[in-house]
Amino acid sequence: MTLQPVLTLTRMPLDTVDLKPIVEALIFVSESPVRADQIAEALDVEKQVVAPLLRQLCSDYADGSRGIILEETAGGFQFRTRPEYAEWVRRLSRNKPFRFSRAALEALAIIAYRQPITRAEIEYLRGVDSGGVLKTLLDKHLVRILGKKDVPGRPMIYGTSRDFLELFGLKDLSGLPTLKEFSELALEAPPSADDVL
C-alpha cells in the first residue's frame, strides 16, 4: 500500500490573514469550551491577540438575527443555540426518525432471525419481559402477528413486516445477513495492517 505524498502545508504567515474566522472555526469544532490561551497556542500568537477577537465574535453573534450565540462558560468559549429556541431544538430531536431503544432493536433482531416466534420465546432469549417493546414494534408496524401456535394456550406468533424489510432496505428475509456470512468476510481475508482508513 502506498502512502500519498505528504501534504505540503502552505499556510500563510499569520499577520497577513484575518484571524477572526479561524477563531470562529476553532470554537465551532470544539466539543468543550475553548480557552483563549488554547486558541492562542494553536494559532501561535499571543493571548492578547486573541482576546479582542473573541469579544468581537461574541458581539457579532449577539445581534439577535442569529440562531447561535457565543457564550463564555467555565473559563472558555462555546457556541450554543439561542436559549429562546430551546423548544424548537427539542421538537427537532423528538422528530428524529427511528430512534430505537436498544431493547426494541434487540427484540426486533430476535424476531427477525427467529421468526415465527412467540412472546415467551422472545422473553426467554432476552431474559426480560418484552410485552411493552413488542407492543411498540407492533404499533410501528415493524412486527406483525402471524397467527397462533398450535400448542396448549395457543400463544400468538410474531414475525417481521413489510415495513421492517423496507426500513432495512431488504427485498425479503433471505437478504438478512447471517452470522456465518459476517464471519466469512473477516476470516477469508483478514484486513491487512495497511488498510489505513
Binding site: 427511528f98 431503544s101 436498544r102 431493547a103 432493536l105 432469549l125 431474559g127 417493546v133 452470522l179
Partner: protein
C-alpha cells in the same frame, strides 16, 4: 535502473500492468504482449530475488499473460485475422485495464474532495443542548451493528446456538447483579472483563443482554475512547443503590 519498482507500490497486477504500459508508452488498445509479458515477469522475478512475498494475484496474471502470448503465436486462419476484436486474445485484458484505470482515477478524485474529518470538520458530538434533554433511548443503529456486536462475542465459541440454552443456567437478572458487584467500588471496567476466559455462548449472550439492560436502566454507561475502541463500563449510580436491586417487570420499564 530497470526494476526499481516495489511491489508495494501496486495495488495489484492490473495496477502494475498499467504502470508498465505508461512507462513504455505503449498503446493500451494494442498492447505488445510479448514485450509487456517480458517486463512483467522480470518485475516479478526481481521481487522474488528480494525475497518479497508475491501475492497470488500477481502470479495468476503472469500465467494469463503467458497464455495470451502463446495464443497470439498460434497460426490463425484467414477469417480470424479479419475479425479482429472478438477473437483477439488480448481483448478481455484490455477491457479490464481500461475499466480499472477509470476507477483508479475515480478513487483519486474522491481523495481530492474536501473530506469530513480531514479537510473540513463538523460538530460530531452531541450538543450540550441535546444532552440536557437526553432520553434513555439510543441513536438509530442498523442491524449490522447488533449482529456485528453479537458476532464479535460469539466468534470464538464452538458451534452451538443460543437456542439450546437451558433453564438451569444463569439468567439475565442474576447476571445484572453480578456485573453490578463486579463494578462496585471500581471506576470502570473494560467490556471484555465481564467474561470468564472461555465463556460459553450462553454466558456471552446473557452478559450482553444484561449489559444492555443496565444501560437501559441507566445504571451503567458505556463509553468508548474512539468510535471503534475498547468499550468501557462506568457505573452511573452510587454504590449503595446498586446493591440488591429488585428487578421486577416494572423496573425494567419497557414501553
Amino acid at each position: 535502473m530497470p526494476y526499481d519498482i516495489k511491489i508495494d507500490n501496486f495495488e495489484g497486477p492490473l495496477d502494475l500492468l498499467l504502470h508498465l504500459i505508461r512507462k513504455n508508452e505503449m498503446d493500451i488498445y494494442d498492447i505488445p504482449i510479448a514485450e509487456i509479458t517480458g517486463q512483467y515477469l522480470a518485475t516479478i522475478d526481481a521481487m522474488k530475488s528480494l525475497n518479497l512475498d508475491i501475492a497470488g494475484e500477481f502470479l495468476l496474471m503472469a500465467a494469463t499473460l503467458v497464455h495470451i502470448k502463446s495464443r497470439l503465436l498460434l497460426p490463425q486462419s484467414e477469417d480470424e485475422v479479419t475479425e479482429e476484436d472478438e477473437d483477439d486474445p488480448r481483448a478481455e485484458l484490455i477491457r479490464r485495464l481500461l475499466e480499472y484505470q477509470k476507477y483508479k482515477e475515480a478513487a483519486t478524485e474522491l481523495d481530492s474532495r474536501q473530506v469530513l474529518g480531514r479537510d473540513v470538520f463538523a460538530r460530531k458530538f452531541p450538543s450540550p443542548e441535546l444532552a440536557e434533554l437526553e432520553e434513555d433511548e439510543f441513536q438509530a443503529v442498523g442491524l449490522y451493528d447488533l449482529v456485528d456486536a453479537l458476532r464479535g462475542l460469539i466468534r470464538n465459541i464452538p458451534e452451538a446456538t443460543y437456542h439450546e440454552v437451558t433453564f438451569e443456567q444463569l439468567s439475565v437478572t442474576e447476571r445484572i447483579n453480578q456485573i453490578l458487584s463486579q463494578l462496585a467500588g471500581k471506576e470502570n471496567l473494560p467490556f471484555a472483563d465481564l467474561f470468564t476466559p472461555s465463556p460459553s455462548r450462553h454466558e456471552i449472550v446473557v452478559s450482553f443482554l444484561a449489559m444492555l439492560e443496565l444501560v437501559k436502566l441507566r445504571m451503567v454507561r458505556l463509553l468508548q475512547n474512539s468510535r471503534f475502541g475498547t468499550i468501557w463500563l462506568f457505573p452511573a449510580v452510587a454504590d449503595d443503590s446498586a446493591a440488591g436491586l429488585d428487578f421486577d417487570e416494572d423496573a425494567l420499564g419497557y414501553g
